[in-house]
Protein backbone atom coordinates (compact mmCIF):
# COMPACT_ATOMS: atom_id res chain seq x y z
CA UNK A 1 0.00 0.00 0.00
CA UNK A 2 2.87 2.38 0.74
CA UNK A 3 3.62 4.86 -1.97
CA UNK A 4 6.61 6.34 -3.70
CA UNK A 5 6.93 10.10 -3.74
CA UNK A 6 8.73 11.95 -6.52
CA UNK A 7 9.56 15.61 -6.19
CA UNK A 8 10.97 17.62 -9.04
CA UNK A 9 11.87 21.26 -9.38
CA UNK A 10 10.00 22.24 -6.24
CA UNK A 11 10.09 25.87 -5.08
CA UNK A 12 8.15 26.88 -1.98
CA UNK A 13 7.13 30.43 -1.20
CA UNK A 14 5.69 32.40 1.67
CA UNK A 15 4.31 35.39 -0.21
CA UNK A 16 7.28 36.67 -2.15
CA UNK A 17 9.82 34.99 0.11
CA UNK A 18 11.25 31.82 -1.37
CA UNK A 19 11.82 29.47 1.55
CA UNK A 20 12.88 26.37 -0.39
CA UNK A 21 14.58 26.29 -3.77
CA UNK A 22 14.58 23.67 -6.49
CA UNK A 23 14.26 20.39 -4.63
CA UNK A 24 14.43 17.12 -6.55
CA UNK A 25 14.13 13.88 -4.68
CA UNK A 26 12.58 10.44 -4.61
CA UNK A 27 11.17 8.95 -1.44
CA UNK A 28 10.98 5.17 -1.57
CA UNK A 29 7.95 3.28 -0.35
CA UNK A 30 8.23 1.25 2.87
CA UNK A 31 11.25 3.15 4.00
CA UNK A 32 12.12 5.84 6.48
CA UNK A 33 13.54 9.02 5.07
CA UNK A 34 15.08 11.52 7.48
CA UNK A 35 15.45 15.24 6.79
CA UNK A 36 18.26 16.92 8.65
CA UNK A 37 19.64 20.42 8.49
CA UNK A 38 20.11 23.61 10.48
CA UNK A 39 17.16 25.51 11.88
CA UNK A 40 15.32 27.65 9.36
CA UNK A 41 16.56 25.76 6.29
CA UNK A 42 13.03 24.83 5.27
CA UNK A 43 12.63 21.23 6.41
CA UNK A 44 9.20 21.80 7.90
CA UNK A 45 8.19 23.95 4.97
CA UNK A 46 9.20 21.30 2.47
CA UNK A 47 7.61 18.52 4.52
CA UNK A 48 4.31 20.38 4.57
CA UNK A 49 4.26 20.57 0.79
CA UNK A 50 4.10 16.76 0.67
CA UNK A 51 0.53 16.72 1.97
CA UNK A 52 -0.51 20.17 0.83
CA UNK A 53 -0.61 21.56 4.34
CA UNK A 54 1.60 24.37 3.13
CA UNK A 55 -1.23 26.07 1.26
CA UNK A 56 -3.23 26.42 4.49
CA UNK A 57 -0.99 29.38 5.36
CA UNK A 58 -2.27 32.61 3.76
CA UNK A 59 -0.04 33.74 0.91
CA UNK A 60 1.88 30.48 0.76
CA UNK A 61 2.32 28.75 -2.60
CA UNK A 62 4.25 26.03 -4.35
CA UNK A 63 5.88 25.72 -7.76
CA UNK A 64 7.06 22.46 -9.26
CA UNK A 65 5.87 18.93 -9.21
CA UNK A 66 5.14 16.35 -6.53
CA UNK A 67 3.81 12.97 -7.57
CA UNK A 68 2.73 10.10 -5.42
CA UNK A 69 2.84 6.79 -7.29
CA UNK A 70 2.78 8.83 -10.48
CA UNK A 71 -0.25 10.93 -9.57
CA UNK A 72 0.31 14.67 -9.46
CA UNK A 73 -0.37 15.96 -5.95
CA UNK A 74 -0.91 19.48 -7.23
CA UNK A 75 -2.96 18.48 -10.27
CA UNK A 76 -5.87 20.62 -11.39
CA UNK A 77 -8.61 18.35 -10.14
CA UNK A 78 -6.88 16.97 -7.08
CA UNK A 79 -8.69 17.66 -3.82
CA UNK A 80 -6.25 18.62 -1.05
CA UNK A 81 -8.54 16.87 1.42
CA UNK A 82 -8.02 13.59 -0.43
CA UNK A 83 -4.27 14.20 -0.45
CA UNK A 84 -4.23 14.67 3.30
CA UNK A 85 -6.17 11.47 3.82
CA UNK A 86 -3.43 9.64 1.96
CA UNK A 87 -0.53 11.53 3.49
CA UNK A 88 -0.88 11.94 7.25
CA UNK A 89 1.12 14.20 9.49
CA UNK A 90 2.43 14.42 13.04
CA UNK A 91 3.40 17.88 14.20
CA UNK A 92 6.33 19.16 16.16
CA UNK A 93 4.19 20.26 19.10
CA UNK A 94 1.62 17.81 20.47
CA UNK A 95 -1.83 19.10 19.54
CA UNK A 96 -4.59 16.81 20.81
CA UNK A 97 -8.12 18.16 20.46
CA UNK A 98 -8.86 19.71 23.86
CA UNK A 99 -12.60 19.07 23.79
CA UNK A 100 -12.18 15.36 23.20
CA UNK A 101 -11.37 12.34 25.31
CA UNK A 102 -8.40 10.11 24.53
CA UNK A 103 -10.70 7.72 22.69
CA UNK A 104 -12.37 10.51 20.72
CA UNK A 105 -9.03 12.01 19.78
CA UNK A 106 -7.90 8.78 18.18
CA UNK A 107 -11.29 8.21 16.58
CA UNK A 108 -11.59 11.83 15.41
CA UNK A 109 -10.19 11.36 11.92
CA UNK A 110 -12.47 8.41 11.21
CA UNK A 111 -15.56 9.90 12.83
CA UNK A 112 -15.20 13.18 10.99
CA UNK A 113 -14.81 11.24 7.78
CA UNK A 114 -18.01 9.36 8.38
CA UNK A 115 -17.12 6.11 10.18
CA UNK A 116 -19.76 5.72 12.88
CA UNK A 117 -19.80 2.03 13.83
CA UNK A 118 -18.76 1.64 17.45
CA UNK A 119 -17.32 -1.85 17.09
CA UNK A 120 -15.18 -0.82 14.14
CA UNK A 121 -13.96 2.32 15.95
CA UNK A 122 -13.15 0.37 19.12
CA UNK A 123 -10.86 -1.95 17.21
CA UNK A 124 -9.09 0.81 15.33
CA UNK A 125 -8.62 2.92 18.45
CA UNK A 126 -7.01 -0.01 20.24
CA UNK A 127 -4.66 -0.96 17.39
CA UNK A 128 -3.70 2.67 16.83
CA UNK A 129 -2.93 3.27 20.48
CA UNK A 130 -0.92 0.06 20.57
CA UNK A 131 0.81 1.17 17.40
CA UNK A 132 1.82 4.39 19.12
CA UNK A 133 2.91 2.46 22.22
CA UNK A 134 0.39 4.27 24.41
CA UNK A 135 -2.26 1.62 24.95
CA UNK A 136 -0.97 0.26 28.26
CA UNK A 137 -0.77 3.70 29.79
CA UNK A 138 -4.26 4.83 28.85
CA UNK A 139 -6.40 1.73 28.42
CA UNK A 140 -8.14 2.33 31.75
CA UNK A 141 -8.94 5.96 31.10
CA UNK A 142 -9.92 6.23 27.48
CA UNK A 143 -12.75 8.57 28.42
CA UNK A 144 -10.45 11.08 30.13
CA UNK A 145 -9.55 14.28 28.27
CA UNK A 146 -6.57 13.94 25.94
CA UNK A 147 -5.19 17.24 27.15
CA UNK A 148 -4.66 15.72 30.59
CA UNK A 149 -1.82 13.49 29.40
CA UNK A 150 1.85 14.34 29.75
CA UNK A 151 3.57 16.03 26.81
CA UNK A 152 5.16 12.79 25.63
CA UNK A 153 1.91 10.87 25.99
CA UNK A 154 0.10 13.61 24.09
CA UNK A 155 2.59 13.28 21.26
CA UNK A 156 2.06 9.54 21.11
CA UNK A 157 -1.68 10.22 21.17
CA UNK A 158 -1.18 12.43 18.12
CA UNK A 159 0.74 9.65 16.41
CA UNK A 160 -2.09 7.24 17.20
CA UNK A 161 -4.56 9.76 15.82
CA UNK A 162 -2.55 10.07 12.62
CA UNK A 163 -2.20 6.33 12.02
CA UNK A 164 -5.85 5.66 12.89
CA UNK A 165 -6.94 6.97 9.49
CA UNK A 166 -4.46 4.57 7.85
CA UNK A 167 -2.60 6.95 5.60
CA UNK A 168 -0.16 5.57 3.05
CA UNK A 169 2.52 8.07 3.93
CA UNK A 170 3.27 9.47 7.36
CA UNK A 171 5.08 12.79 7.73
CA UNK A 172 6.60 13.49 11.13
CA UNK A 173 7.99 16.90 11.97
CA UNK A 174 10.41 16.47 14.87
CA UNK A 175 8.00 14.10 16.61
CA UNK A 176 10.38 13.46 19.50
CA UNK A 177 11.55 16.96 20.26
CA UNK A 178 9.22 17.13 23.27
CA UNK A 179 9.89 13.64 24.52
CA UNK A 180 12.10 11.95 27.09
CA UNK A 181 14.66 9.37 25.90
CA UNK A 182 12.42 6.43 26.78
CA UNK A 183 9.40 7.70 24.88
CA UNK A 184 11.76 8.67 22.08
CA UNK A 185 13.03 5.12 21.87
CA UNK A 186 9.47 3.82 22.01
CA UNK A 187 8.55 6.02 19.08
CA UNK A 188 11.65 5.04 17.16
CA UNK A 189 10.72 1.38 17.64
CA UNK A 190 7.28 2.27 16.45
CA UNK A 191 8.66 3.96 13.37
CA UNK A 192 10.61 0.84 12.59
CA UNK A 193 7.42 -1.19 12.88
CA UNK A 194 5.28 1.28 10.96
CA UNK A 195 7.69 1.22 8.07
CA UNK A 196 6.41 -2.24 7.18
CA UNK A 197 3.19 -0.58 6.10
CA UNK A 198 3.85 3.07 5.54
CA UNK A 199 6.23 5.37 3.81
CA UNK A 200 7.67 7.53 6.55
CA UNK A 201 9.35 10.90 6.35
CA UNK A 202 10.78 12.32 9.55
CA UNK A 203 12.40 15.64 10.31
CA UNK A 204 14.89 15.52 13.14
CA UNK A 205 17.64 17.54 14.73
CA UNK A 206 19.01 14.47 16.37
CA UNK A 207 21.78 12.89 14.26
CA UNK A 208 21.73 9.68 16.25
CA UNK A 209 18.02 9.42 15.67
CA UNK A 210 18.42 9.92 11.96
CA UNK A 211 21.18 7.31 11.91
CA UNK A 212 19.09 4.87 13.97
CA UNK A 213 15.72 5.03 12.28
CA UNK A 214 16.22 6.10 8.69
CA UNK A 215 17.12 4.24 5.54
CA UNK A 216 17.78 7.38 3.57
CA UNK A 217 18.90 10.77 4.82
CA UNK A 218 18.47 14.11 3.12
CA UNK A 219 20.51 17.10 4.20
CA UNK A 220 19.10 20.60 3.69
CA UNK A 221 21.13 23.73 4.11
CA UNK A 222 20.74 27.44 3.86
CA UNK A 223 23.35 29.85 2.53
CA UNK A 224 22.40 32.68 4.87
CA UNK A 225 19.37 34.26 6.44
CA UNK A 226 16.87 35.46 3.86
CA UNK A 227 18.20 32.96 1.34
CA UNK A 228 16.17 29.93 0.34
CA UNK A 229 16.96 26.50 1.77
CA UNK A 230 18.28 23.84 -0.60
CA UNK A 231 18.60 20.10 -0.69
CA UNK A 232 22.34 19.54 -0.52
CA UNK A 233 22.62 15.80 -0.53
CA UNK A 234 20.49 12.72 -0.25
CA UNK A 235 21.88 9.23 0.14
CA UNK A 236 21.43 5.95 2.00
CA UNK A 237 21.89 6.69 5.69
CA UNK A 238 25.02 4.53 6.26
CA UNK A 239 26.77 6.26 3.38
CA UNK A 240 25.57 9.67 4.51
CA UNK A 241 27.01 9.18 7.98
CA UNK A 242 30.28 7.58 6.88
CA UNK A 243 31.29 9.02 3.54
CA UNK A 244 29.10 11.94 2.53
CA UNK A 245 30.02 13.39 -0.83
CA UNK A 246 29.50 17.02 0.16
CA UNK A 247 31.78 18.89 2.53
CA UNK A 248 28.83 20.78 4.08
CA UNK A 249 27.10 17.52 4.97
CA UNK A 250 30.19 16.17 6.66
CA UNK A 251 30.65 19.39 8.61
CA UNK A 252 27.03 19.42 9.74
CA UNK A 253 26.93 15.78 10.74
CA UNK A 254 30.18 15.91 12.63
CA UNK A 255 29.15 19.06 14.41
CA UNK A 256 31.69 21.31 12.72
CA UNK A 257 29.19 23.78 11.47
CA UNK A 258 28.91 27.50 10.97
Amino acid sequence: MAKRIDVSGLNVYYGSFRAVEDVNMTIEPRSVTAFIGPSGCGKSTFLRTLNRMHEVIPGARVEGKVTIDGEDLYGQNVDPVAVRRTVGMVFQRPNPFPTMSIYDNVAAGLRLNGVKKKSQLDGIVETSLKGANLWNEVKDRLDRPGAGLSGGQQQRLCIARAIAVEPEVLLMDEPCSALDPISTLAIEDQIAALKEQYTIVIVTHNMQQAARVSDTTAFFNIAGSGKPGKLIEMAPTPKMFSTPSEKATEDYISGRFG
Binding site: V56, R84, A162
Partner: protein, 359 residues
Amino acid sequence: MSTTLLPTNEPTREPESRSLLPETRPLPGWMPWALAVAAVGLSVLLLLALGSLNLPLAVVVSVPIFAALVGLASARLEGTRRAKDRIVTVVVYTCFALAILPLLSVLITTIQRGASHLTPYFLTHSQRGIGPRDEGGGIYHGIIGTFEQVGIAALIAVPIGLLVAVYLVEYGRGALARAVTFFVDVMTGVPSIVAGLFVYTAILLGFGTTPKGVWGGLALSILMLPVVVRSTEEMLKLVPNDLREASLALGVPKWKTIVSIVMPTAIGGIVTGVMLSVARVIGETAPLVLTVGATDSINFNAFDGPQASLPLIIYDQAFRSSPYAQDRAWATALTLILLVLILNLVARGIARWKAPKAR
Protein backbone atom coordinates in the same frame (compact mmCIF):
# COMPACT_ATOMS: atom_id res chain seq x y z
CA MET B 1 33.65 18.07 24.10
CA SER B 2 35.59 18.00 27.34
CA THR B 3 35.37 15.01 29.61
CA THR B 4 33.18 16.58 32.29
CA LEU B 5 29.52 16.22 31.67
CA LEU B 6 28.37 18.93 34.00
CA PRO B 7 30.46 22.06 34.27
CA THR B 8 31.28 22.69 37.90
CA ASN B 9 30.75 26.19 39.15
CA GLU B 10 33.73 28.22 40.11
CA PRO B 11 33.92 28.60 43.88
CA THR B 12 31.87 31.66 44.66
CA ARG B 13 33.66 34.52 46.29
CA GLU B 14 32.47 35.72 49.66
CA PRO B 15 30.18 38.70 49.20
CA GLU B 16 31.99 41.73 50.47
CA SER B 17 29.40 44.38 51.04
CA ARG B 18 25.79 43.42 50.40
CA SER B 19 24.33 39.95 50.77
CA LEU B 20 22.49 38.61 47.75
CA LEU B 21 19.25 38.03 49.58
CA PRO B 22 18.89 40.80 52.16
CA GLU B 23 16.50 39.85 54.89
CA THR B 24 13.31 41.83 55.04
CA ARG B 25 11.00 42.11 57.97
CA PRO B 26 7.47 42.03 56.65
CA LEU B 27 4.94 44.39 58.12
CA PRO B 28 3.27 42.68 61.08
CA GLY B 29 -0.20 41.46 60.20
CA TRP B 30 -2.00 43.75 62.61
CA MET B 31 -0.23 46.83 61.33
CA PRO B 32 -2.39 47.63 58.26
CA TRP B 33 -5.51 47.29 60.38
CA ALA B 34 -4.11 49.55 63.05
CA LEU B 35 -3.13 52.04 60.38
CA ALA B 36 -6.63 51.86 58.90
CA VAL B 37 -8.13 52.71 62.28
CA ALA B 38 -5.60 55.50 62.66
CA ALA B 39 -6.47 56.81 59.20
CA VAL B 40 -10.18 56.90 59.98
CA GLY B 41 -9.44 58.59 63.29
CA LEU B 42 -7.22 61.15 61.64
CA SER B 43 -9.77 61.97 58.99
CA VAL B 44 -12.50 62.38 61.60
CA LEU B 45 -10.28 64.72 63.59
CA LEU B 46 -9.41 66.63 60.44
CA LEU B 47 -13.04 67.07 59.50
CA LEU B 48 -13.96 68.07 63.05
CA ALA B 49 -11.27 70.69 62.95
CA LEU B 50 -12.71 71.96 59.69
CA GLY B 51 -16.16 71.81 61.23
CA SER B 52 -17.84 69.67 58.60
CA LEU B 53 -18.05 66.12 59.86
CA ASN B 54 -20.10 63.63 57.88
CA LEU B 55 -19.57 59.96 57.50
CA PRO B 56 -19.15 59.45 53.71
CA LEU B 57 -16.72 62.35 53.56
CA ALA B 58 -14.72 60.84 56.42
CA VAL B 59 -14.44 57.56 54.55
CA VAL B 60 -13.35 59.35 51.37
CA VAL B 61 -10.71 61.37 53.20
CA SER B 62 -9.38 58.42 55.17
CA VAL B 63 -8.44 56.45 52.02
CA PRO B 64 -5.51 58.65 50.88
CA ILE B 65 -4.42 59.06 54.50
CA PHE B 66 -4.39 55.28 54.88
CA ALA B 67 -2.42 54.87 51.65
CA ALA B 68 0.13 57.39 52.85
CA LEU B 69 0.46 55.78 56.31
CA VAL B 70 0.83 52.27 54.95
CA GLY B 71 3.29 53.50 52.35
CA LEU B 72 5.44 55.23 54.95
CA ALA B 73 5.38 52.36 57.40
CA SER B 74 6.15 49.83 54.73
CA ALA B 75 8.95 51.95 53.27
CA ARG B 76 10.57 52.11 56.69
CA LEU B 77 10.21 48.45 57.54
CA GLU B 78 10.08 46.53 54.26
CA GLY B 79 11.75 48.66 51.64
CA THR B 80 10.44 50.79 48.80
CA ARG B 81 9.39 47.99 46.45
CA ARG B 82 6.96 46.57 49.00
CA ALA B 83 5.80 50.07 49.86
CA LYS B 84 4.89 50.72 46.22
CA ASP B 85 3.13 47.39 46.10
CA ARG B 86 1.04 48.28 49.13
CA ILE B 87 0.13 51.74 47.85
CA VAL B 88 -0.90 50.38 44.46
CA THR B 89 -2.93 47.70 46.20
CA VAL B 90 -4.85 50.39 48.07
CA VAL B 91 -5.41 52.29 44.81
CA VAL B 92 -6.67 49.21 42.99
CA TYR B 93 -9.09 48.23 45.75
CA THR B 94 -10.36 51.81 45.93
CA CYS B 95 -11.03 51.84 42.21
CA PHE B 96 -12.83 48.53 42.52
CA ALA B 97 -15.00 49.93 45.29
CA LEU B 98 -15.76 53.02 43.22
CA ALA B 99 -16.76 50.88 40.27
CA ILE B 100 -18.99 48.56 42.27
CA LEU B 101 -20.63 51.28 44.39
CA PRO B 102 -23.18 52.57 41.83
CA LEU B 103 -24.05 49.01 40.90
CA LEU B 104 -24.67 48.04 44.51
CA SER B 105 -26.64 51.21 45.09
CA VAL B 106 -28.94 50.52 42.12
CA LEU B 107 -29.36 46.93 43.17
CA ILE B 108 -30.14 47.74 46.79
CA THR B 109 -32.61 50.48 45.91
CA THR B 110 -34.39 48.24 43.43
CA ILE B 111 -34.62 45.40 45.90
CA GLN B 112 -35.81 47.69 48.70
CA ARG B 113 -38.55 49.24 46.65
CA GLY B 114 -39.46 46.33 44.40
CA ALA B 115 -39.06 43.11 46.37
CA SER B 116 -42.25 43.38 48.40
CA HIS B 117 -44.38 43.74 45.26
CA LEU B 118 -42.72 40.95 43.36
CA THR B 119 -45.32 38.29 44.13
CA PRO B 120 -46.39 35.22 42.15
CA TYR B 121 -49.62 37.09 41.45
CA PHE B 122 -47.62 39.97 39.97
CA LEU B 123 -45.75 37.60 37.67
CA THR B 124 -48.82 35.75 36.44
CA HIS B 125 -51.35 38.49 35.75
CA SER B 126 -51.59 41.30 33.24
CA GLN B 127 -52.57 44.93 33.65
CA ARG B 128 -55.79 44.45 31.75
CA GLY B 129 -58.57 46.61 33.16
CA ILE B 130 -56.38 48.10 35.83
CA GLY B 131 -55.83 51.83 35.60
CA PRO B 132 -52.63 53.57 36.59
CA ARG B 133 -54.21 54.71 39.88
CA ASP B 134 -55.49 51.25 40.81
CA GLU B 135 -53.73 48.75 42.96
CA GLY B 136 -52.80 45.28 41.70
CA GLY B 137 -52.25 43.88 38.27
CA GLY B 138 -49.06 42.30 37.04
CA ILE B 139 -46.54 41.99 34.25
CA TYR B 140 -47.26 38.61 32.76
CA HIS B 141 -48.01 40.29 29.44
CA GLY B 142 -44.65 42.08 29.58
CA ILE B 143 -42.72 38.92 30.42
CA ILE B 144 -44.28 37.16 27.44
CA GLY B 145 -43.58 40.11 25.19
CA THR B 146 -39.97 40.48 26.32
CA PHE B 147 -39.26 36.77 25.93
CA GLU B 148 -40.77 36.63 22.47
CA GLN B 149 -39.15 39.81 21.22
CA VAL B 150 -35.71 38.93 22.58
CA GLY B 151 -36.18 35.39 21.30
CA ILE B 152 -36.93 36.68 17.82
CA ALA B 153 -33.95 39.02 18.04
CA ALA B 154 -31.72 36.09 19.03
CA LEU B 155 -33.11 33.89 16.27
CA ILE B 156 -32.14 36.54 13.75
CA ALA B 157 -28.89 37.83 15.24
CA VAL B 158 -27.23 34.67 16.56
CA PRO B 159 -27.05 32.62 13.32
CA ILE B 160 -26.07 35.63 11.24
CA GLY B 161 -23.59 36.77 13.86
CA LEU B 162 -21.98 33.33 14.15
CA LEU B 163 -21.65 33.00 10.40
CA VAL B 164 -20.19 36.48 10.04
CA ALA B 165 -17.65 35.72 12.78
CA VAL B 166 -16.72 32.41 11.16
CA TYR B 167 -16.30 34.20 7.85
CA LEU B 168 -14.08 36.87 9.39
CA VAL B 169 -11.84 34.46 11.28
CA GLU B 170 -11.68 31.45 8.98
CA TYR B 171 -12.19 32.75 5.48
CA GLY B 172 -12.13 36.53 5.31
CA ARG B 173 -9.17 38.10 3.53
CA GLY B 174 -8.68 41.43 1.91
CA ALA B 175 -11.11 44.23 1.19
CA LEU B 176 -14.40 42.46 1.88
CA ALA B 177 -13.29 41.26 5.31
CA ARG B 178 -12.04 44.71 6.19
CA ALA B 179 -15.32 46.25 5.06
CA VAL B 180 -17.34 43.77 7.13
CA THR B 181 -15.21 44.47 10.21
CA PHE B 182 -15.65 48.19 9.68
CA PHE B 183 -19.43 47.97 9.42
CA VAL B 184 -19.66 45.73 12.45
CA ASP B 185 -17.73 48.37 14.36
CA VAL B 186 -20.09 51.05 13.10
CA MET B 187 -23.09 48.95 14.12
CA THR B 188 -21.68 48.62 17.63
CA GLY B 189 -21.97 52.36 17.95
CA VAL B 190 -25.52 52.71 16.59
CA PRO B 191 -27.66 54.36 19.28
CA SER B 192 -30.55 52.09 20.20
CA ILE B 193 -33.17 54.70 19.29
CA VAL B 194 -31.75 54.74 15.77
CA ALA B 195 -32.33 51.00 15.47
CA GLY B 196 -35.95 51.59 16.49
CA LEU B 197 -36.36 54.49 14.10
CA PHE B 198 -34.84 52.46 11.29
CA VAL B 199 -37.34 49.64 11.72
CA TYR B 200 -40.11 52.21 12.14
CA THR B 201 -39.36 54.00 8.88
CA ALA B 202 -38.20 51.02 6.82
CA ILE B 203 -40.86 48.53 7.88
CA LEU B 204 -43.78 50.19 9.61
CA LEU B 205 -43.93 53.25 7.37
CA GLY B 206 -42.33 51.51 4.40
CA PHE B 207 -44.82 48.65 4.27
CA GLY B 208 -47.60 50.45 6.05
CA THR B 209 -47.95 47.80 8.75
CA THR B 210 -48.82 48.21 12.42
CA PRO B 211 -46.62 47.72 15.51
CA LYS B 212 -46.07 44.09 16.42
CA GLY B 213 -43.74 42.15 18.67
CA VAL B 214 -41.76 40.89 15.70
CA TRP B 215 -40.75 44.40 14.64
CA GLY B 216 -39.43 45.01 18.13
CA GLY B 217 -37.43 41.81 17.82
CA LEU B 218 -36.07 43.01 14.51
CA ALA B 219 -34.96 46.31 16.03
CA LEU B 220 -33.31 44.48 18.93
CA SER B 221 -31.51 42.12 16.55
CA ILE B 222 -29.79 45.13 14.97
CA LEU B 223 -28.31 45.92 18.37
CA MET B 224 -27.50 42.32 19.13
CA LEU B 225 -25.73 41.44 15.92
CA PRO B 226 -22.46 43.35 16.41
CA VAL B 227 -22.12 42.06 19.97
CA VAL B 228 -22.51 38.47 18.79
CA VAL B 229 -20.07 38.97 15.92
CA ARG B 230 -17.43 40.63 18.05
CA SER B 231 -17.50 38.21 20.94
CA THR B 232 -17.62 35.14 18.70
CA GLU B 233 -14.79 36.50 16.58
CA GLU B 234 -12.59 36.96 19.65
CA MET B 235 -13.37 33.46 20.86
CA LEU B 236 -12.63 31.85 17.49
CA LYS B 237 -9.35 33.72 17.29
CA LEU B 238 -8.35 32.17 20.61
CA VAL B 239 -8.54 28.66 19.15
CA PRO B 240 -4.93 27.65 18.42
CA ASN B 241 -4.07 27.20 14.77
CA ASP B 242 -2.41 23.90 15.69
CA LEU B 243 -5.83 22.36 16.16
CA ARG B 244 -7.06 23.45 12.75
CA GLU B 245 -3.91 22.05 11.16
CA ALA B 246 -4.18 18.81 13.12
CA SER B 247 -7.70 18.33 11.84
CA LEU B 248 -6.92 19.30 8.25
CA ALA B 249 -3.96 16.93 8.27
CA LEU B 250 -6.34 14.08 9.11
CA GLY B 251 -8.06 14.72 5.82
CA VAL B 252 -11.02 16.49 7.37
CA PRO B 253 -12.56 19.15 5.10
CA LYS B 254 -12.28 22.74 6.24
CA TRP B 255 -15.98 23.27 6.95
CA LYS B 256 -16.05 20.15 9.08
CA THR B 257 -12.93 21.25 10.89
CA ILE B 258 -14.67 24.50 11.74
CA VAL B 259 -17.91 22.84 12.82
CA SER B 260 -16.43 19.88 14.69
CA ILE B 261 -13.14 21.16 16.06
CA VAL B 262 -13.00 24.95 16.13
CA MET B 263 -16.52 25.74 17.29
CA PRO B 264 -16.66 23.11 20.06
CA THR B 265 -13.30 24.32 21.37
CA ALA B 266 -14.65 27.87 21.57
CA ILE B 267 -18.24 27.01 22.51
CA GLY B 268 -18.01 28.15 26.12
CA GLY B 269 -16.92 31.62 25.11
CA ILE B 270 -19.41 31.78 22.26
CA VAL B 271 -22.32 30.92 24.54
CA THR B 272 -21.17 33.50 27.06
CA GLY B 273 -21.02 36.10 24.31
CA VAL B 274 -24.51 35.25 23.07
CA MET B 275 -25.90 35.46 26.59
CA LEU B 276 -24.21 38.80 27.12
CA SER B 277 -25.73 40.07 23.90
CA VAL B 278 -29.15 38.96 25.13
CA ALA B 279 -28.52 40.72 28.43
CA ARG B 280 -27.47 43.76 26.45
CA VAL B 281 -30.80 44.06 24.59
CA ILE B 282 -33.27 42.68 27.10
CA GLY B 283 -33.48 46.01 28.90
CA GLU B 284 -33.63 48.19 25.80
CA THR B 285 -36.58 50.55 25.74
CA ALA B 286 -35.90 52.92 22.89
CA PRO B 287 -36.05 50.44 19.98
CA LEU B 288 -39.40 49.14 21.26
CA VAL B 289 -41.22 52.42 21.79
CA LEU B 290 -42.05 52.84 18.13
CA THR B 291 -42.12 49.23 17.03
CA VAL B 292 -44.12 46.93 19.34
CA GLY B 293 -46.96 49.23 20.28
CA ALA B 294 -48.11 48.82 23.85
CA THR B 295 -50.92 46.97 25.47
CA ASP B 296 -52.15 46.06 28.91
CA SER B 297 -53.31 42.65 27.78
CA ILE B 298 -51.68 39.35 27.20
CA ASN B 299 -50.74 38.76 23.56
CA PHE B 300 -48.92 35.56 22.81
CA ASN B 301 -48.69 36.22 19.11
CA ALA B 302 -45.70 38.38 18.24
CA PHE B 303 -46.89 38.50 14.64
CA ASP B 304 -50.28 40.01 15.29
CA GLY B 305 -51.27 43.06 17.26
CA PRO B 306 -49.34 45.15 19.77
CA GLN B 307 -47.32 43.50 22.50
CA ALA B 308 -46.09 44.68 25.85
CA SER B 309 -42.54 44.36 27.14
CA LEU B 310 -40.85 44.77 30.51
CA PRO B 311 -38.77 47.88 29.73
CA LEU B 312 -41.83 49.59 28.26
CA ILE B 313 -43.85 48.77 31.37
CA ILE B 314 -41.15 50.30 33.58
CA TYR B 315 -41.04 53.36 31.36
CA ASP B 316 -44.82 53.71 31.40
CA GLN B 317 -45.44 53.06 35.11
CA ALA B 318 -42.51 55.07 36.39
CA PHE B 319 -43.95 58.26 34.93
CA ARG B 320 -47.31 57.87 36.63
CA SER B 321 -47.68 59.73 39.88
CA SER B 322 -49.73 57.06 41.65
CA PRO B 323 -47.76 55.15 44.29
CA TYR B 324 -49.16 51.84 42.97
CA ALA B 325 -47.73 52.55 39.54
CA GLN B 326 -44.39 53.44 41.11
CA ASP B 327 -44.35 50.17 43.02
CA ARG B 328 -45.12 48.27 39.84
CA ALA B 329 -42.26 50.03 38.06
CA TRP B 330 -39.77 49.03 40.76
CA ALA B 331 -40.99 45.46 40.90
CA THR B 332 -40.74 45.22 37.10
CA ALA B 333 -37.21 46.61 37.20
CA LEU B 334 -36.28 44.01 39.78
CA THR B 335 -37.76 41.28 37.58
CA LEU B 336 -35.67 42.46 34.67
CA ILE B 337 -32.49 42.52 36.76
CA LEU B 338 -33.21 39.02 38.04
CA LEU B 339 -33.79 37.80 34.48
CA VAL B 340 -30.41 39.15 33.38
CA LEU B 341 -28.80 37.63 36.46
CA ILE B 342 -30.30 34.23 35.71
CA LEU B 343 -29.21 34.45 32.08
CA ASN B 344 -25.66 35.22 33.17
CA LEU B 345 -25.62 32.34 35.61
CA VAL B 346 -26.91 29.99 32.93
CA ALA B 347 -24.24 31.26 30.54
CA ARG B 348 -21.53 30.69 33.11
CA GLY B 349 -22.85 27.25 33.81
CA ILE B 350 -22.81 26.32 30.14
CA ALA B 351 -19.36 27.85 29.66
CA ARG B 352 -17.97 25.85 32.55
CA TRP B 353 -19.71 22.68 31.47
CA LYS B 354 -18.47 22.96 27.88
CA ALA B 355 -15.00 24.33 28.56
CA PRO B 356 -12.11 22.07 27.48
CA LYS B 357 -10.97 20.17 30.53
CA ALA B 358 -7.56 18.81 31.34
CA ARG B 359 -8.60 16.17 33.84
